[in-house]
């Protein structure tokens, strides 16, 4: 077995294991448009990487995987750059606000309890709704002549409300004409939740784009990767500068696996119907929710943990 020493993490890892881990999470990012942070960081911690280094190095690898995945989706015409930019601006504002919310929660006490409950509710709610909705879609199989599932149609009331909002803009790739305030507002909401839950926000952003902005699933994946790319560029630089927690060797190993995985994931996503993609993502989210609930309910083997982790 070949090992490499990680100087910032202060530990050595099996190279093939890390390459495989990166490949698996990259595959998920290519298929679903999620950064994989909610999976990668806990997995890295399981292999002995300190929590803060795992989170920061994971952001670094997400930059590479998202670059690769965004490019692949751009070639397929699946990236709505304007929509992604609006969501990103909102996400940055929301993330900044979210950090203040966390400070307030910590001052009030029981912040960790609220964060854990938010996790379980969000994962369970989002995963459950996506699973049920995509199951209905697969059963009914409404297809257009091109063989793709239509995005969820807006009701007359929704159309009227949306048309009355200012700053209307035609988002061509997403196939919708809506106010710029909508993606900005939802971006802020996702940013706040992401800051509270300590994740990149992909698994929240994707359902927001599908169910609230009513974007086609394939455009959602590409646009989500585009937005995550810039979020993680910011996080990587800040973490390296302020906390010295980006392990370059670990990030490169993860990158080599995840960039290849993201390409494969993109190719896989092309062969799947939108409802199939949604139901797979919903299943993944629900599994993570169950794992989290098990962690909350079962007596831990060790009653202390190093500070700084999830």
């Amino acid at each position: 077995m070949i090992h490499m020493y990680l100087p910032i993490a202060g530990n050595s890892v099996n190279i093939f294991l890390i390459l495989g881990l990166g490949g698996f999470v990259g595959l998920l990012s290519g298929i679903f448009g999620v950064g994989g942070g909610f999976l990668m960081t806990p997995l890295l911690m399981m292999f002995g990487i300190p929590p803060t280094v795992a989170a920061a190095s994971d952001s670094n690898q997400i930059v590479g995987a998202s670059t690769s995945g965004t490019l692949a989706h751009m070639r397929l015409g699946n990236v709505d750059i304007m929509m992604g930019a609006m969501l990103l601006v909102g996400g940055i504002a929301g993330g900044t606000l979210g950090v203040q919310v966390i400070k307030l929660l910590r001052a009030m006490g029981n912040a960790d309890f609220l964060i854990a409950v938010t996790y379980v509710i969000m994962l369970g709610g989002v995963g459950g709704y996506m699973f049920w909705e995509s199951l209905q879609g697969l059963k009914s199989e409404k297809k257009n002549p091109a063989g793709q599932v239509q995005p969820v149609k807006k009701t007359a009331k929704e159309k009227s409300f949306i048309q009355k909002l200012p700053f209307q803009y035609t988002f061509e790739k997403s196939g919708c004409e809506i106010s710029m305030l909508l993606p900005l507002g939802f971006g802020i909401l996702v940013g706040v939740l992401a800051a509270i839950m300590g994740v990149g926000g992909g698994f929240i952003m994707v359902p927001v784009m599908v169910y609230l902005l009513r974007m086609p699933m394939h455009v959602v994946v590409g646009t989500s990767l585009f937005q995550i790319l810039f979020t993680c560029v910011n996080v990587t630089i800040m973490q390296a500068w302020s906390n010295h927690t980006v392990d370059f060797v670990l990030a490169v190993l993860l990158l080599l696996g995840s960039t290849v995985g993201a390409q494969i994931g993109t190719a896989v996503s092309r062969r799947l119907k939108a409802d199939q993609l949604k139901i797979m993502l919903a299943t993944l989210v629900l599994l993570v929710c169950i794992k989290m609930m098990a962690g909350l309910l079962m007596t831990p083997a060790i009653m202390v943990a190093l500070k700084g982790g999830h």
Partner: protein
């Protein structure tokens, strides 16, 4: 005659009261490390260090490997609403060694000398302080030890010291120290204790130094010395890797 008697008396006194080199030496413990400096290079995955030495025949040997002391911030788990296990409180253990391993001989009960000897987890607990002071120090330190044993930097290695006869009054010993990859670049202390009748009769100590070399040293130097440049470089390399992989897959991942 009187002068001869004085000389003989002085010689007898010197013999009875003076130091007996061979007797004093036979009560000491001596040891050597196969390596006193270990380089942590690119493919480092931990290592071992042989320890050989000698001690009095009627004593037992205890070896310890300990790291510098520091403060550790921990989260203490507890039940919320009587149902959910989560991080409930922050605690800080002060004056905790980063590494603590004990090596004991085969075939003995290996009871450690009393807490005052400085050997064993109970001795460590006496020297550690905790914040807040109201927290249960012994319980929390016990859980911290479990956490550190899981990563290999703490441990009691029973039956890991071997003896061989070396004469009437002394015996040789050998042991293999485990140096896990989690032991970072720092200076550690190896101590050998000759224990007799439940008390430390003699001791000796040597330093063991771990240093970064090659690529790990270059990266650590950049990450801590020029962190902003390091962060920007990490991003550029990530983007470049993504672009290269994307270009490589261009033929296979084309549009509909």
């Amino acid at each position: 005659m009187k002068r001869l008697i004085n000389i003989i008396s002085i010689w007898l006194l010197a013999f009875l009261l003076g130091p007996e080199p061979s007797m004093a030496a036979s009560k000491t413990v001596r040891f050597e490390l196969a390596a006193s400096t270990i380089e942590i290079s690119t493919f480092y995955n931990g290592t071992t260090v042989e320890v050989t030495g000698s001690l009095p025949t009627d004593a037992d040997l205890l070896l310890t490997l300990s790291g510098p002391k520091h403060d550790v911030e921990l989260k203490l788990k507890g039940k919320m609403a009587g149902l959910l296990w989560m991080n409930k409180a922050d605690v800080k253990l002060e004056n905790v060694p980063s590494v603590y391993q004990i090596y004991t001989p085969e075939g003995t009960s290996s009871e450690f000398p009393g807490p005052q000897s400085g050997i064993g987890y109970k001795s460590l607990a006496r020297e550690i302080t905790i914040e807040p002071e109201s927290a249960d120090k012994m319980f929390i330190f016990g859980e911290y030890v479990k956490l550190m044993e899981k990563s290999g930097v703490y441990g009691i290695n029973r039956g890991s010291v071997s003896y061989a006869p070396a004469g009437e009054k002394r015996k040789n010993f050998s042991a293999t120290l485990k140096i896990p990859p989690k032991m970072g670049a720092d200076t550690y202390r190896v101590e050998a204790f000759a224990v007799k009748d439940g008390a430390v009769a003699a001791s000796a100590a040597k330093d063991l130094t771990l240093v970064l070399s090659g690529l790990p040293r270059a990266i650590a130097s950049l990450a801590f010395g020029r962190p902003l440049l390091f962060g920007i470089m990490a991003v550029f390399i990530a983007v470049a890797t993504g672009l290269i992989i994307g270009a490589l897959f261009k033929g296979g991942g084309g549009a509909h």
